[in-house]
């Protein structure tokens, strides 16, 4: 077990614990804050995998934007101010459990199926340049497709939200 693995272990534990707390926390704002920790540890994992660009983009987008947006939304609508808890109903819990378990199983199956016991060696640092090349040369079509999809979602959201 080398240093990298130890670091990964720590990050994985932190991330896993935080993820667990996200779903078990009885306070929705706390849940969002645990999500920050979880996402940050994922960014740490990216760093370990020598993909600093992805790691920092993860921080910018997920921590800096997505979670902020979530928090923003929560606070704008029904955040219990202070220490008050907002307990979920049993139905919601069951639903959440089903969805969570489903996702977990799906990933386990997919990843297990794809890699199995194979040990993937660290391939050294990925230069940002290489990342850009692969994204805009090799995978430019999927990339564009995803962006068009996102754009459509964006416009759809605006259309839905506008009342006039």
């Amino acid at each position: 077990m080398n240093g990298q693995e130890v670091a990964f272990l720590i990050l994985a534990v932190i991330g896993g614990l935080a993820g667990l707390l996200v779903v078990t926390s009885r306070n929705v704002v706390h849940a969002a804050l645990y999500l920050v920790v979880a996402l940050a540890s994922v960014a740490g994992v990216y760093l370990l995998l020598a993909a600093p660009f992805v790691a920092f983009v993860q921080v910018i987008i997920y921590v800096g934007a997505i979670v902020v947006l979530i928090l923003f939304g929560i606070m704008l609508t029904r955040a219990p101010v202070g220490r008050r808890v907002l307990d979920n109903t049993l139905r919601a819990r069951v639903g959440a459990f089903v969805v969570g378990a489903g996702v977990f199983i799906m990933f386990t199956v997919f990843l297990g199926g794809a890699f199995g016991d194979e040990r993937i060696e660290n391939q050294g640092a990925t230069a940002t340049e290489a990342l850009g090349e692969s994204l805009f040369r090799n995978y430019v079509l999927p990339f564009e497709a995803v962006s068009v999809l996102l754009l459509a979602a964006l416009i759809g959201a605006i259309v839905l939200a506008r009342r006039d």
Binding site: T77, R78, V81, G82, R163
Partner: protein, 396 residues
């Protein structure tokens, strides 16, 4: 309380333990999206209300649905107090309802008593009263010229205004000995004559103030952010203004050239040249611009008065105990904030039998619900700041 709200399906905002601030949450079923009104107390202790005015705002998001000014936190029963004070004491008292325009307040009292007593005030005293009243007007307007941008986030004009005020204040202090509550007018004249050199100092101050006014125009009035914050905000049309009894800069900004100094001249205002500035749109921007223009006009009056103070006494000889004869009198003056009137009923005693004040701020603020309806919460500050009120003048 919080639990109650929780049972209702959760409140948008909940107070800590339900203490202090009251929250009224109403569901709105008739909307497509489920929104809740929130009632927010702005004040009585809030930086934007300069003093203890409380505005009960009903919010839909940041949109104001309803705003009710709640007054009376500073009520000091001036009118009742005045019934138990002799005229000199009333003069000392009324200094304090609008605490930044003391001379203009006490002038009204002196005038109303003089009217009732049918007293001829020496010319010199009248001119000096005008001089002091106009400087007070400048002082008062400078206060708002500084504080309004402060409410919109510009800190600097406040300091400039106070720099200017300090210079005028020095003149006032030299003349009267006081800084805020000057107590300079007396029934029948003034407390004492000017100290030697005061007129010259007043002469010197006028061009300096004019020069400084230019700075406000550059720093505040010409600023695009300021314009964006104030143009079209809090539009008070002339007819609404009139129906609320709004007066002063607010009314003039709405385009009504009403000014007691013009329409019903007292002192020697009919002998000096000045204009009544008016605005076009009646919005916050116009109100601020009118305020600046009013300072210019006041400086114009001061310039003329400086040269016209005749020699002579500043007082008439009165008996030791001043008694206004039986009857009643009404005097209407243009205080810096608007029309200030005093109505006095006298039963030939040393105190008035009834002393009614019509203070400008009270009427001006009464138009707040009209102005605030449908504006955004941040605009509330922009509107309230441009109402140019003094809480003491509302509550009395």
């Amino acid at each position: 309380m919080a639990t109650e709200l929780g049972q209702q399906g959760g409140a948008a905002f909940q107070a800590a333990d339900g203490t202090g601030v009251g929250i009224i949450v109403r569901d709105k079923a008739d909307r497509e999206l489920h929104t809740q009104d929130m009632t927010l107390n702005v004040g009585p202790q809030h930086p934007a209300t300069h003093g203890v005015l409380r505005v009960l705002v009903t919010l839909d998001g940041e949109m104001i649905e309803d705003a009710q000014p709640v007054i009376g936190y500073m009520h000091r029963s001036f009118e009742k107090l005045a019934e138990y004070r002799d005229y000199r004491q009333i003069i000392a008292l009324v200094n304090r309802h609008d605490w930044v325009s003391s001379i203009c307040n006490e002038l009204g009292v002196a005038l109303v008593v003089e009217r009732q007593m049918d007293l001829e005030v020496p010319e010199r005293a009248t001119w000096i009263r005008m001089l002091m009243a106009e400087w007070t007007r400048v002082l008062n307007h400078l206060m708002f010229v500084g504080s309004y941008p402060l409410e919109l986030g510009a800190i600097t004009p406040m300091f400039y205004a106070f720099r200017e005020r300090e210079e005028i204040q020095a003149l006032m202090e030299w003349i009267t000995g006081g800084r805020l509550h000057l107590t300079y007018c007396r029934v029948g004249g003034l407390k004492q004559d000017l100290p030697r050199g005061a007129i010259q100092m007043s002469r010197d101050l006028v061009p300096r103030m004019r020069e400084r006014l230019k700075e406000y125009e550059d720093l505040v009035l010409g600023n695009e952010i300021f314009a964006a914050r104030t143009k079209g905000i809090g539009v008070l049309p002339a007819d609404v203004a009139c129906s609320y009894g709004v007066s002063g800069a607010l009314l003039q900004a709405a385009g009504v050239p009403e000014d007691s100094r013009k329409t019903e001249p007292y002192l020697f205002y009919d002998q000096v040249e000045f204009d009544v500035p008016t605005g076009r749109n009646g919005d916050s921007y116009d109100r601020y611009a009118t305020l600046l223009a009013r300072i210019r006009e006041s400086l114009r009056i001061i310039e003329q008065v400086n040269e016209r103070i005749p020699p002579g006494p500043v007082n008439v000889k009165l008996p030791k105990v001043v008694r206004a004869p039986q009857g009643h009198a009404y005097v209407r003056t243009e205080a810096p904030l608007g029309q200030l009137s005093y109505y006095m009923v006298s039963h030939n005693e040393k105190t008035p039998w009834r002393f009614k004040m019509r203070t400008p701020s009270f009427n001006n603020v009464s138009s707040l619900p009209y102005l605030l309806k449908g504006t955004l919460l941040p605009d509330m500050i922009a509107v309230m700041g441009s109402m140019f009120f003094i809480v003491g003048d509302i509550d009395r």
